[in-house]
C-alpha cells in the first residue's frame, strides 16, 4: 500500500522531508519508525496520521499521510 511519510526537525537529517513509500498491509506506525531508525536520533515526540494524533500501534491504511516529529516545542 502507498503511504506518504513526512519527517521533521532532526529526523530529516540524512533522510528526507517527504516521500511516498510502499509498505505491506498490516504495517504499523511503530514499524515505520523502526525501519527509518528515527529513535536513534531523538525520542519520538509527536506522531500524526492524516493530521490527527495516533498511537504508535496505529495500523496504516492505503493513502495515509504519516507525520513524524522528535520531541519539539516552542511558544
Amino acid at each position: 500500500m502507498h503511504v506518504v511519510v513526512k519527517l521533521f526537525a532532526q529526523y530529516r537529517e540524512g533522510r528526507f522531508k517527504v516521500e511516498e513509500r510502499n509498505y505491506a498491509i498490516g504495517t504499523t506506525a511503530q514499524m515505520v519508525i523502526d525501519l527509518l531508525e528515527l529513535e536513534r536520533v531523538s525520542p519520538l515526540g509527536v506522531l500524526m496520521v492524516n493530521s490527527r494524533h495516533v498511537e504508535p500501534s496505529y495500523c496504516l491504511q492505503e493513502g495515509d499521510v504519516i507525520a513524524l516529529f522528535p520531541k519539539v516545542g516552542g511558544g
Partner: protein, 578 residues
C-alpha cells in the same frame, strides 16, 4: 543588604527609596508587578493618564547563577486591553536590577512639561532625571548606541522608539540583550505608557555587579545543578529549541491543522515549508548566522538566533514563531528573508511584533493590501506607522481598532489584543487560555499547545472539549508562578516531563531566601496572582462577556478538521472556579 523599592514620580521629577512592605517580601516578577498595580493603580484610570503606574520587577531568582532566571517583569494598566498587564522579557535588565538590590522600580505621575523626554539613570541609592532632546524622534538602536557611548557596556537599557513617543498601542519597551541586540516587553502597548510618562529610556547601572545574596549557598548550588541538568537533558529544551528555535512550531501546527491561515480561514498553509524552522536553520547555517543565542546571561536553552541575509549581513535576532506565523500564513508572505527584515525593523521601531503582524494580516480583509503583498506590508511598517500617517495611526492602535475602523466582523482579538499563532478551534485548550487570561489573548499565559499538540505533560485531544478548561487553568496557575521566579517559561517543558525539575526550582527559591516553600505554596501563589489580576479587570469594567473568543469562530467551520469553537459561556466560566 535587603532589596529595596525605588519609587519615581515624574510629576515633580523626584524619587524615594523605600523598605519593602512585609506583604511584598515573598513576591517577585509578575507576582510583584500585578500585586503593586492592583494595590496602587485605579482600575478605572486612563492608561496614558497621571494615575497609571509602570512597575518593573526582576524575578525571585534573577541575578543568581540559576539557569534561565533572567526574566524581568513590567506591569501596568494596558492601553491596548484596558486591563491589567504583565509583560516579561529576557535581556540584561533583570540581572542588573537584582544585583543593584532593586526589588521593584515604580514609576508614577506625568511630567507637566509635555515637550521634554527624559532618561532615567538608576544607580545605587540614586535616580537621575536627564533631559534627552537629542534622542527624541530616534528609534531603539540609536538610543542604545547613545547609551553605550555614554556608559559601561554592562549598563541595562530599556527604551522606546518613535512609536512609543506617539503613544501607540503597538509600542513595546525594548531591552538590551547580552549581545547588544534587542528584546521586548512586547504585548499590551506598555511602550505607550512609557511614552506618556515622557521617558525615552531607563538605564540601570549596578556599579560593582555583585551576585545577589544566597541564604544557603550549598543548597542553592546543589539544586541549581539538578535544575540545569533537567533543562539540558530534556529533548525539547536541550535539543529541539536550540536547533530550530521556536519556529520549529510552523510545521507541527501546520500538520495538526492548527496554523491559522489567511486571517483564521483555515488551519494549514501550503507554503509552510518556505518559512518553517527547518528552512530557517538551513539558511542560518548557510549564511554564517547563529542557530543558538541566549536572550539573557545564564540561558542554557539558547532558542534565540542570529539570522543573516544571503550576503551574510545581519537581518534580525530573536526571530520567533509567532511573528513568522503572522507575517507568513496569516498575511501570506512566503519570503522568510523579508519577514526577517520586518522583524528587525520592528525591534528598532519598538513595536510588538505579534500585534503589528496580526494587524497587517487583518488589513487584507480591510482591502488595504493583498494577501501576500510583502512590499506593501513593508511600506506600511517602514513609513506609515513610524511617521504617524492617519493610516499608520489606525495600525498603531492595534488589531481590534483596525477592525472597527474598517467595519470588519472577523477580527481575531480577545480583550482587544490580537490572537497569536494557534487556531483556537483546532487547539481548544489554547482557546480557553485566550478567552480567560486577564492579559487578553496571550499564548504564554497558559500554553496548552504543549499538551494538546506537543505531547508535553501528557496529551489532551486538541479537537475535543473534554479536559481543556482544567488544562488551561492548571497551566495558567503554573505560568503565573513561573513568571514570578524570573524563569523563562520554557523551563516548563522540563518541569512537565521531569519529576526532578520543579522541586529543584523550589529548592533554589528556598535556598535563596532561607524559606521553606512547598510545591503547594508555589501553586497557591499562582492562583493568588491570577485572581488578583482577574479582580483588577472586573473593577476596570470587564465581565464574563469579555472572556469570549470572536463570534465568527462559533459559526465559521475551520478546515481541515472542519471544527468550530463550540464551548458555551457557562463552560468557559468554569475556569474561574478555583
Amino acid at each position: 543588604m535587603a532589596d529595596l523599592i525605588y519609587r519615581v514620580n515624574m510629576t515633580n521629577l523626584s524619587f524615594k527609596i523605600e523598605e519593602v512592605p512585609a506583604r511584598w517580601l515573598g513576591l517577585g516578577g509578575r507576582g510583584l508587578t500585578s500585586t503593586i498595580v492592583a494595590e496602587e493603580v485605579d482600575p478605572e484610570c486612563h492608561p496614558l493618564g497621571p494615575n497609571n503606574k509602570m512597575v518593573f520587577a526582576p524575578g525571585l531568582l534573577s541575578g543568581t547563577s540559576a539557569s534561565n532566571s533572567g526574566r524581568n517583569s513590567l506591569g501596568a494598566k494596558s492601553p491596548l486591553t484596558g486591563g491589567i498587564k504583565e509583560s516579561n522579557v529576557g535581556g540584561t535588565s533583570a540581572g542588573i536590577f537584582s544585583k543593584l538590590g532593586v526589588k521593584a522600580l515604580i514609576i508614577e505621575g506625568l511630567p507637566k512639561d509635555e515637550n521634554t523626554f527624559y532618561q532615567l539613570h538608576v544607580t545605587k541609592n540614586n535616580v537621575e532625571f536627564i533631559p534627552v532632546p537629542e534622542l527624541v524622534g530616534k528609534d531603539n538602536y540609536a538610543v542604545l548606541d547613545a547609551m553605550m557611548a555614554k556608559y559601561d557596556k554592562k549598563v541595562a537599557v530599556m527604551s522606546i522608539g518613535r512609536i512609543g513617543e506617539m503613544r501607540m498601542n503597538l509600542a513595546n519597551v525594548s531591552v538590551k540583550d547580552p549581545g547588544g541586540k534587542l528584546r521586548s516587553h512586547g504585548r499590551g502597548g506598555l511602550g505607550a505608557v512609557m511614552g506618556s510618562k515622557k521617558i525615552k529610556c531607563i538605564t540601570v547601572d549596578a556599579a560593582d555587579y555583585k551576585e545577589v545574596t544566597i541564604a544557603d549557598p550549598d543548597k542553592f548550588k546543589e539544586a541549581s545543578k539538578i535544575f540545569t541538568k533537567a533543562l539540558q537533558e530534556n529533548p525539547i529544551s536541550g535539543q529541539g529549541l536550540p536547533a530550530f528555535g521556536t519556529n520549529v512550531l510552523v510545521n507541527i501546527l501546520n500538520e495538526a491543522g492548527g496554523l491559522p491561515t489567511h486571517n483564521f480561514r483555515q488551519g494549514n498553509w501550503e507554503h509552510a515549508e518556505e518559512i518553517c524552522g527547518e528552512t530557517m536553520a538551513e539558511n542560518i547555517k548557510a549564511r554564517g548566522g547563529k542557530t543558538t543565542h541566549g536572550c539573557h546571561a545564564g540561558c542554557v536553552i539558547q532558542c534565540s538566533q542570529v539570522y543573516n541575509d544571503k550576503e551574510g549581513k545581519f537581518l534580525t535576532s530573536g526571530f520567533e514563531y509567532e511573528t513568522i506565523w503572522a507575517l507568513g500564513a496569516h498575511l501570506g508572505i512566503q519570503d522568510l528573508d523579508l519577514i526577517a527584515k520586518m522583524d528587525g525593523l520592528m525591534d528598532d521601531l519598538g513595536v510588538d511584533s505579534i500585534e503589528t503582524s496580526v494587524a497587517l494580516g487583518l488589513a487584507v480583509d480591510a482591502g488595504i493590501l493583498a494577501y501576500g503583498d510583502g512590499a506593501k506590508a513593508y511600506e506600511i511598517l517602514s513609513h506609515d506607522i513610524p511617521t504617524g500617517t492617519p493610516l499608520g495611526r489606525i495600525f498603531g492602535a492595534g488589531t481590534h481598532i483596525l477592525g472597527k475602523a474598517y467595519g470588519l466582523v472577523r477580527v481575531p482579538t480577545v480583550k482587544g489584543q490580537g490572537i497569536p499563532a494557534y487556531e483556537p478551534r483546532a487547539v481548544k485548550g489554547q482557546g480557553i487560555t485566550y478567552a480567560t487570561t486577564p492579559m487578553g489573548a496571550d499564548h504564554t499565559a497558559g500554553y496548552a499547545v504543549a499538551t494538546n499538540i506537543l505531547n508535553s505533560g501528557g496529551h489532551v485531544d486538541p479537537l475535543k472539549k473534554e479536559g481543556q478548561v482544567e488544562l488551561a487553568r492548571n497551566l495558567q496557575i503554573a505560568s503565573a508562578a513561573v513568571d514570578s521566579t524570573g524563569m523563562c517559561i520554557f523551563v516548563a517543558f522540563a518541569a512537565l516531563d521531569d519529576a526532578k525539575c520543579l522541586p529543584a526550582l523550589i529548592d533554589m527559591i528556598n535556598a535563596r531566601f532561607g524559606c521553606a516553600l512547598t510545591i503547594d505554596d508555589v501553586m497557591n501563589l499562582g492562583k493568588t496572582i491570577l485572581k488578583t489580576e482577574h479582580e483588577f479587570n472586573i473593577k476596570a469594567g470587564f465581565g464574563k462577556a469579555d472572556d469570549r473568543l470572536p463570534e465568527f469562530m462559533k459559526y465559521e467551520i475551520l478546515p481541515p478538521h472542519n471544527v468550530t469553537w463550540d464551548f458555551t459561556g457557562e463552560e468557559i466560566d468554569e475556569f474561574w472556579n478555583f
